[in-house]
């Protein structure tokens, strides 16, 4: 289960083929594994290392730099409460306190039913709509204690299932590059001349 599934291996190969160097696919592939498993597993990192010909240590080294990657089981919904200046000015501390009370967990923890992980987060680029939070990286604006409670109710009841996919799924769609439209991707060392359309004036 925690290696990439056959279906995801096909997707992974498509993703790798889009880059002139395969290591560039590292972060997208770790995302893919997190989408599959809900968090990043050691087996998945080994699998990815194999696919892009690096060591597992290199995959872990890169992945652990980025905070969206979680290396332990995570709730179906990850609630990130922003605490940076604009949100803080508009009551982020009080919102976080309320969230902890409502969910019965401290920031950083997951509810016993495994549904919700709550954590403190940094600026979410929605500063005018403070205080904000994200559920699986989907924004909720001008969050009040009441709207937070409503959100939790909706998550528990499944009312938001179509809008908010489980933790790990980044977009509900993917980029597709149709084979008949794609330009052949080349390793940089194999390209020696400028593209066809550019008129290179002699230096």
């Amino acid at each position: 289960m925690s290696r990439l599934s056959d279906h995801n291996v096909i997707l992974a190969k498509e993703i790798i083929a889009r880059y002139p160097k395969q290591k560039s696919a590292l972060i997208p592939l770790v995302h893919l594994s997190q989408e599959q498993n809900g968090y990043v597993t050691e087996d998945a990192m080994r699998h990815i290392a194999d696919m892009i010909d690096v060591t597992p240590a290199e995959v872990y080294g890169t992945a652990s730099f980025y905070e969206m990657f979680r290396f332990e089981p995570t709730g179906k919904y990850l609630i990130n409460v922003c605490g940076t200046l604009s949100c803080s000015l508009m009551g982020a501390d009080s919102l976080m306190h309320h969230a902890e009370q409502t969910l019965g967990i401290k920031a950083g923890a997951t509810t016993d039913d495994g549904l919700i992980t709550l954590q403190h987060a940094e600026c979410q680029a929605a500063c005018t709509e403070a205080p904000t939070l994200q559920v699986n990286y989907r924004h909720r604006y001008r969050v009040t204690h009441e709207s937070f409670d409503q959100l939790v109710d909706d998550l528990r009841s499944g009312a938001l299932d179509t809008e908010i996919p489980p933790h790990g799924t980044l977009g509900r769609n993917r980029q597709q590059i149709p084979a008949d439209r794609a330009v052949a991707v080349q390793a940089p060392e194999d390209v020696t001349t400028g593209p066809a359309w550019i008129q290179v004036s002699p230096a």
């Binding site: 980025y66 200046l85 929605a126 390209v191």
Partner: protein
Amino acid sequence: MTVESRVVSPYPWAPGFYPGDRPEIVTSRFQYEDGHTLDRYLATGGYEGLRAALAESPSDVHEVVKNSTLLGRGGAGFPAGVKWGFTPQGVWPRYLVVNGDESEPGTYKDRLLMECDPHQLIEGSLIASYAAGLSQGFLYIRGEMALAHERVAQALNDAYAAGYIGKNILGTDFSIDIVLHWGAGAYVVGEETALIESLEGERGMPRLKPPFFPAAVGLYGMPTIVNNVETLSNLPFIAREGSEAYTAIGTPTSPGTRMIAVSGHVKRPGVYEIVNGSTTFRDLIFGDDFAQGIRDGNELKAFVPGGGSAPWFLPDQLDIPFEGPAAGAAGSMLGSGAVMVMDSTTDIPAAALTLVQFYAHESCGKCVPCREGGTWLYRIVERIVAGHGTDADLETIFEVGQTICPGEMPHASSERLGLDAVPFPYKMTTICFVGPSAYAPIHSALTLFPEEFEALVTKRADRRPIPVTAEVPA
């Protein structure tokens, strides 16, 4: 004033955006709920700029962009056309990297541009690639922006299907792939060399300089143009309407418009497309067209003029125009177009703490001053805010700051304190600006509101020297 009672945007699909009686270069489609679709885009002049560009030679298009003096909107404000010219002759391939990693505290514009008008960004990317001879583009979007991903992915898929991206675009020789790349959560990746490292599958740590510009040595060591989302979103207009139509707006040194977010304790926090150079901070914070003044009838206490990295301004600086050199002379910078407003109820040390915490958390760990110094500053301020500080800690903040930013640190003038401004910029011992950014807010807060810190800390008893007669050896 409660959260609920604030004004809301007339366009719920563009939360926080407010149109005004101003030219709209990049936000013209925000009025449409379906502004992100290809149909709406084509119905409103979409891809006309690309058609116009393809009718000319790449070098002519480059010339038009140079003449428009379009300045980069990522924070550095470097002219885009000049940046493209730094690519070395005869070195191929060249790449495009679109910096959609918006994450500077207070900044909120690139996400709107990607969610509400993704085709405009794609068209801009195509025009840049055509002009600079770029053979593959990577659209790096901050990982935490799921909706932006979905909108851009859909737009890319539609644009591929319609023949705007890929092989032989619009029947010409011009061919390019644009790949959507997901970030994964690291502020420092907004720095362009860190962005490239991240795109290569590495830890997003800024590269050493020299070489100073990725245009010379960038992705995979090849010439690479890195442009911000807003910058590229201006290109369809410039290509369609010409550079003169663009320079007719704004000032000669800073033409066109730019997007500004005003947030915090104001009546109408919002994102506005403003005309460069003609707006003051007073307009932005108090103008009816903009944030409409301080909430609940409170007084303005201080504001951050250019994103969380910027030294703070006081009411003393309200009449400074929103323009780089003026802000610099007054001791700060405009950065990424983000104003954060604090009213008289603000607990200044606690407000500064959120920013110090942010930059300490976001340090990549490469440079010692940032990795160790940033966290140290955060620990000290956290302790002070919790009531466990001493007056020695206040000195230590400046001392640690000195190791990150040697020499005089820029700050605003204060009539109340009898302080003169120290102009921007600062010196730094780090590779990038994350380290200094951890110091700038606490330096401003402590310099401009020393009494709030002094009220929080315990004074040490004066040290009683032990009476000795012998000379201490040197």
